[in-house]
C-alpha cells in the first residue's frame, strides 16, 4: 500500500463508522479541494452512493465560479444539497464588506451562525467536515469524532480519548459530533490524490495571469498568490517546494492571536 492508499483506507473506515453510528448524518461541503476529495472518498466508502445530504453554508460572498461548480455537481451526481444562509444579517448588511463588522465577527455571523441554525433545523446528530491537522495549530489537536456542545461549542480541554480505531460517538442529548475523516492528510496529499483520482476542482485553484488561489473562501478576505501552476501536476510540484502556509491568504486568521481558536471554539469548522 502506498501512503495515499493508507490515508484513503483510514478515511473510508471513519466514514463507514460515522454512517453506522449516526441516525441523521450530513456532510459540510465548502466546494474547496478538500471537500471535493472527501466526496470522492464518500463514494468509495459507499460503493458509488452518497448516502447523506451535503450542507453548504453560503455567505453570499463566495466567488461565482464556486456556486456554478456546486450547482453543476449537484445536478450531474444527483446529490442532496442543503444551503444555509444568515438572511437577516445579509439583508441588514451587517457584514465586514459593508464596513459594519470586523472580519472575525463577520465569519461568526455569516458562517458559524447559519451553520448552527442549519444543523439545528435539520436535526443532525453528526456532520462530516474536511479539516486537516496540518492546516493550523488547533486543528492539529483535533479528534476524528469531535463532540460539540449544546451551543455548538468545542471544549478543547476535555476531548475524549480516541485510539486503536475506537471512537466515542455518543455525547448525550443536544450535542452533535463533527466527524473528520481527512485529519491525517496534508495539503500536498490532497493534491496528489486529486491528481491520482482525476478529481474535478474549481478553476480558481489554477493560475491565471500569474496568480492563483490556494485556499478558497469569501472573496473580500481571501487573497491570491503568485504562481505559474495551471495544472494539478504543476500545483503538486509547487507545493513540494513552497514554505508559504496554506492559510496565509486568509485574512481573518491574522486579525489577532487566538482569533482562529476563538472562531473554532464557538462552532466554526
Amino acid at each position: 500500500m502506498t501512503h495515499l492508499d493508507s490515508l484513503e483506507a483510514e478515511s473510508i473506515y471513519v466514514l463507514r463508522e460515522a454512517a453506522h453510528h449516526f441516525q441523521k448524518l450530513g456532510m459540510l461541503w465548502s466546494i474547496g479541494k478538500d471537500s471535493c476529495a472527501m466526496l470522492n472518498l464518500v463514494r468509495k466508502a459507499f460503493l458509488g452512493r452518497v448516502p447523506f445530504p451535503l450542507v453548504h453554508i453560503d455567505t453570499s460572498f463566495k466567488p461565482p465560479e464556486m456556486i456554478e461548480f456546486r450547482d453543476r455537481l449537484v445536478r450531474e451526481w444527483g446529490l442532496q444539497l442543503i444551503v444555509g444562509r444568515n438572511e437577516p444579517a445579509l439583508t441588514a448588511a451587517d457584514t465586514f464588506p459593508a464596513g459594519r463588522r470586523t472580519r472575525v465577527e463577520c465569519c461568526g455571523l455569516l458562517k458559524t451562525e447559519p451553520l448552527r441554525a442549519t444543523l439545528a433545523a435539520q436535526g443532525f446528530d453528526a456532520v462530516i467536515a474536511g479539516i486537516r491537522r496540518d492546516e493550523e495549530g488547533t486543528r492539529a489537536k483535533e479528534r476524528f469524532f469531535s463532540p460539540r456542545g449544546v451551543a455548538n461549542d468545542w471544549n478543547v480541554k476535555q476531548q475524549p480519548p480516541e485510539f486503536w480505531g475506537q471512537f466515542q460517538t455518543d455525547f448525550g442529548p443536544g450535542t452533535h459530533v463533527r466527524v473528520h475523516p481527512l485529519l491525517h492528510w496534508t495539503e500536498l496529499n490532497i493534491w496528489e490524490y486529486i491528481e491520482r483520482e482525476g478529481i474535478e476542482v474549481v478553476s480558481l485553484y489554477f493560475a491565471k495571469d500569474g496568480r492563483r488561489h490556494r485556499s478558497l473562501g469569501c472573496w473580500p478576505c481571501t487573497g491570491t498568490f503568485e504562481s505559474q501552476a495551471t495544472t494539478v501536476p504543476e500545483i503538486v510540484a509547487e507545493l513540494r517546494a513552497t514554505r508559504l502556509s496554506e492559510r496565509a491568504g486568509r485574512a481573518q486568521d491574522a486579525e489577532s492571536e487566538g482569533a482562529f481558536e476563538a472562531l473554532r471554539a464557538s462552532g466554526y469548522m
Binding site: M1, H3, A140, P161, W164
Partner: protein, 623 residues
C-alpha cells in the same frame, strides 16, 4: 512530458513523551525550526505572541497553539505536526506530560510507530516518566529512544547523563523496553538537537540523527486473514459486506469462515468504486466483498481462512490501563469494544492492579484499578467475542473498555486459547446433507418449521402462553412442541448455573436444540426469560443460519404485575436475598427493541393472547 515524481512516502509516526515540564514541546519546536519545516512567518508570529505575554521566546508555542496552553505553559492535548527530516517526513506527536491529560497522551501515542521518551537532567525520572514508559510497552511501541533534556541545567555533565541512563536502563528493562539510543540535549541552546555542538564532547549523537535512523515498521503482511465487518450495504439486490482487512489477504474464490458463529462461506467477489479492481485485498484495505452463499452476516463478524481461525470465547484475559476518573473495581460492569464487536462484560478477576507511576507490576497492591492505573484482568463476557493474542495479530488483540458511552480504558489480550466448543472444528467433520428436503417435510406436516422465541420477565406468562398455543396448534394438526427454560435446566442444561456465562450457554443450547427440531419441520415454542439482547440476537442467528424462520415474541408485563403474580414465589425469595442475580430485581432485563410480536399480558387475557399468537404463527409457517 516530464515523468511525475513519486507520491509522498509514508511518514514515520513518532511520539514525544515524558513527564510534564521535561521539555517536550520545546524540543519539538527546535526541531521544526532547525530543519526548515516551518512556514514563512511562523517564528515571527510566535515571537510576537511571546512579546505580548512578556516572556522570552518560547519554542513550545509552535505546537502549544491553544491560548490556555500558552497562558499556563503546559501542553493540554497532543499536537501532530510534520517534520521535514533528511530523507523522510516524520509526524511528530507532541504528547502532554501532565497526569491530568494522560488520556490525550494515549490518544497521540497509540498511532505512533516509535517514541522518544524525554527525561529532564535536573529532575530525573518522575512518576509520569514511568507511567509513559509503561504505556509505551502496553501500546506495543518497542522502538524507543531516550532523550535527556535540559543538559544546560547540569552544566552538560557526563556523569549526570550516565547516572540517569543507568537508572533508566533498570527501570525500562523491567517493563521490557530496551532503548535503541540515548541522547543528551539542551533544546534552549540547541546542543544535541540537530548538531552535536561543543558543549558535550562526550557524545556525538543528535536527536535528528536518531530520528532519521529509525526506519518505518513493516506491515504484518504474512499474518493470518482477519476481515472485520463494519456494515452490510444492500445494493441492486446484492449484499455488500463492507469492512477492513486487519491482517493477511483475502481473494475472490477463498473459502472463509464467519466468526463467532463458525459459518462456512466462499468469497464471490471483491468490490471497490468506481471499479471492482484486483480481486484480492491486503492489510489495511477498506473494501467490500460479496459471498457466494446466502449466509447471514452483520457488523461485528470476523472473517478468517479455515486453516487459521481466531479464538472465540466468553472469557478474555488481558492487561489493561484505566483512564476514567473513578477506579475500576472487581465485579464492575463494562463493555468491551474490539474491532467492530461490542459486548457487555464483568470484571471477573483482578490481578496485579497497580499505579505504573509509583510501583512495578510485581509490587501490585491495589484491590481496584486506580485512575491512570493498570492491571491484569479476566473479563467475563455476556456474549462470545472473536479475538487473537495481541502479539499474534495486534488489530484483533486490543480493545477499549466502555463505561456507559465513554472510553474508560484499553487493553491487550494476553491469552487466546481457542474455546474448544466454539472455535475448534475438526477437519474430519463434514456436514451430512439429509436426503429429505424441507419442501417434503412441509408437504407432510402442512406447515413449515419455525422457532418462536418467547422472552419476558419471570411471571410475565411465557410458559402459560406457550402451553396454550401448543395445545391450539396441536388441535389443528400441527407438529409443535415447547422448550421451557425450567425443563431444560433439569436435563440438557443441568450443569449450568445463573452466572452471566452460564446464562449465555443456557440460551445457546436452547437455540441449537430449537433449530434441530425446526429443521425437522416442527414449530418450536421456546419459553425462556433470555434477558440480554445479544443472546436473543445470537439465538436468532442460529435459527436463521439453519434456514429456519425465527420470531421473537415479547411477553410483556410490568415488573410490579409479575411480582404480584409471583407464581413460583421467586420474587419473594429474591427480595429476601435468598436468590441472587434475579432478573428484574438485581439483574437487568433488556427489553426487545424489534420483536416481531408484542403481547401485553397485563392488558389482554390468556385466551385473546393465545389467539393472537396462533394467528401470527399460522401466517408465518404457511406451506
Amino acid at each position: 512530458m516530464p515523468s511525475a515524481p513519486p507520491a509522498s512516502a509514508a511518514p514515520l509516526r513518532l511520539v514525544i513523551c515524558g513527564s510534564v515540564d521535561h521539555g517536550k514541546s520545546t524540543l519539538v519546536g527546535r526541531l521544526l525550526a532547525e530543519t526548515g519545516t516551518l512556514p514563512e512567518g511562523k517564528v515571527e508570529s510566535v515571537r510576537a505572541a511571546c512579546a505580548r505575554r512578556g516572556v522570552d521566546f518560547e519554542w513550545a508555542f509552535l505546537t502549544d497553539a491553544l491560548q490556555a496552553e500558552r497562558d499556563q505553559n503546559v501542553t493540554i492535548d497532543s499536537a501532530q505536526i510534520v517534520l521535514k527530516a533528511p530523507g523522510r517526513d516524520i509526524v511528530l506527536i507532541d504528547a502532554p506530560g501532565h497526569e491530568e491529560f494522560l488520556r490525550n497522551m494515549i490518544t497521540g501515542a497509540a498511532t505512533a510507530e516509535a517514541a522518544l521518551l524525554l527525561v529532564a537532567a535536573d529532575e530525573g525520572w518522575r512518576a509520569q516518566s514511568r507511567r509513559h514508559a509503561f504505556l509505551l510497552g502496553l501500546l506495543g511501541l518497542r522502538r524507543v529512544a531516550v532523550v535527556v533534556t535540559k543538559m544546560d541545567r547540569v552544566d552538560y555533565s557526563a556523569q549526570v547523563f550516565r547516572d540517569l541512563r543507568a537508572e533508566g536502563e533498570v527501570l525500562l528493562g523491567a517493563l521490557g523496553l530496551e532503548p535503541f539510543a540515548w541522547v543528551g540535549v539542551s533544546a534552549r541552546s540547541g546542543a544535541g538537537v540537530t548538531s552535536a555542538g561543543p558543549e558535550m564532547p562526550w557524545q556525538n549523537a543528535t536527536v535528528l540523527a536518531t530520528l532519521t535512523a529509525c526506519a518505518p515498521g513493516a506491515a504484518a503482511a504474512e499474518a493470518a486473514l482477519r476481515f472485520v465487518v463494519q456494515d452490510v450495504y444492500r445494493q441492486d439486490g446484492r449484499r455488500l459486506v463492507a469492512g477492513r482487512v486487519e491482517s493477511g489477504r483475502v481473494s475472490a474464490g477463498d473459502a472463509i469462515v464467519l466468526w463467532p458463529f463458525h459459518k462456512d462461506a466462499t468469497v464471490a467477489s471483491i468490490e471497490r468504486w468506481p471499479q471492482p479492481g484486483a480481486q484480492t485485498a491486503g492489510v489495511g484495505e477498506s473494501i467490500a466483498l460479496t459471498l457466494a452463499e446466502p449466509v447471514f452476516v452483520e457488523r461485528g463478524y470476523v472473517l478468517s481462512h479455515p486453516s487459521a481461525p481466531p479464538a472465540v470465547s466468553n472469557q478474555l484475559h488481558a492487561s489493561i490501563f484505566w483512564i476514567a476518573p473513578t477506579p475500576l473495581a472487581l465485579g464492575a460492569e463494562v463493555r468491551v469494544k474490539l474491532g467492530t464487536q461490542q459486548v457487555a462484560a464483568r470484571v471477573a478477576s483482578l490481578g496485579r492492579a497497580f499505579d505504573p507511576g509509583r510501583e512495578m507490576p510485581e509490587q501490585a497492591s491495589a484491590a481496584e484499578v486506580p485512575p491512570n492505573g493498570a492491571a491484569e484482568v479476566v473479563l467475563q463476557l455476556h456474549a462470545p467475542l472473536v479475538f487473537d493474542r495481541h502479539d499474534h495479530i495486534a488489530a484483533l488483540g486490543r480493545f477499549v473498555l466502555l463505561l456507559g458511552a465513554r472510553i474508560g480504558g484499553g487493553g491487550i489480550v494476553t491469552q487466546a486459547e481457542p474455546a474448544v466448543r466454539l472455535a475448534t472444528k475438526s477437519a474430519n467433520i463434514t456436514e451430512s446433507a439429509g436426503s429429505i428436503t424441507a419442501a417434503e417435510r412441509t408437504r407432510r406436516h402442512g406447515h413449515r418449521g419455525a422457532v418462536v422465541w418467547l422472552t419476558g420477565l419471570s411471571g410475565a406468562g411465557k410458559s402459560t402462553l406457550a402451553r396454550g398455543v401448543e395445545r391450539e396448534l396441536f388441535a389443528r394438526g400441527s407438529l409443535v412442541t415447547v422448550l421451557d427454560g425450567d425443563n431444560l435446566r433439569r436435563g440438557l442444561n443441568s450443569d449450568l448455573g445463573f452466572a452471566p456465562a452460564d446464562r449465555v450457554e443456557n440460551i445457546r443450547r436452547a437455540a441449537e436444540a430449537a433449530r434441530l427440531l425446526a429443521e425437522a419441520g416442527c414449530i418450536v415454542l421456546v419459553a425462556l426469560i433470555s434477558p440480554y439482547r445479544a443472546d436473543r440476537a445470537a439465538a436468532r442467528r442460529i435459527a436463521l443460519e439453519g434456514g429456519c424462520d425465527f420470531a421473537e415474541v415479547f411477553v410483556r408485563a410490568p415488573l410490579a404485575v409479575c411480582e404480584q403474580r409471583d407464581p413460583k414465589q421467586l420474587y419473594r425469595k429474591a427480595r429476601a436475598g435468598l436468590i441472587k442475580q434475579f432478573t428484574g430485581i438485581d439483574a437487568p432485563y433488556e427489553e426487545p427493541e424489534d420483536a416481531e410480536i408484542v403481547v401485553r399480558t397485563d392488558e389482554v387475557g390468556v385466551g385473546e393472547a393465545t389467539e393472537l399468537l396462533v394467528a401470527e404463527i399460522v401466517r408465518r409457517t404457511r406451506a
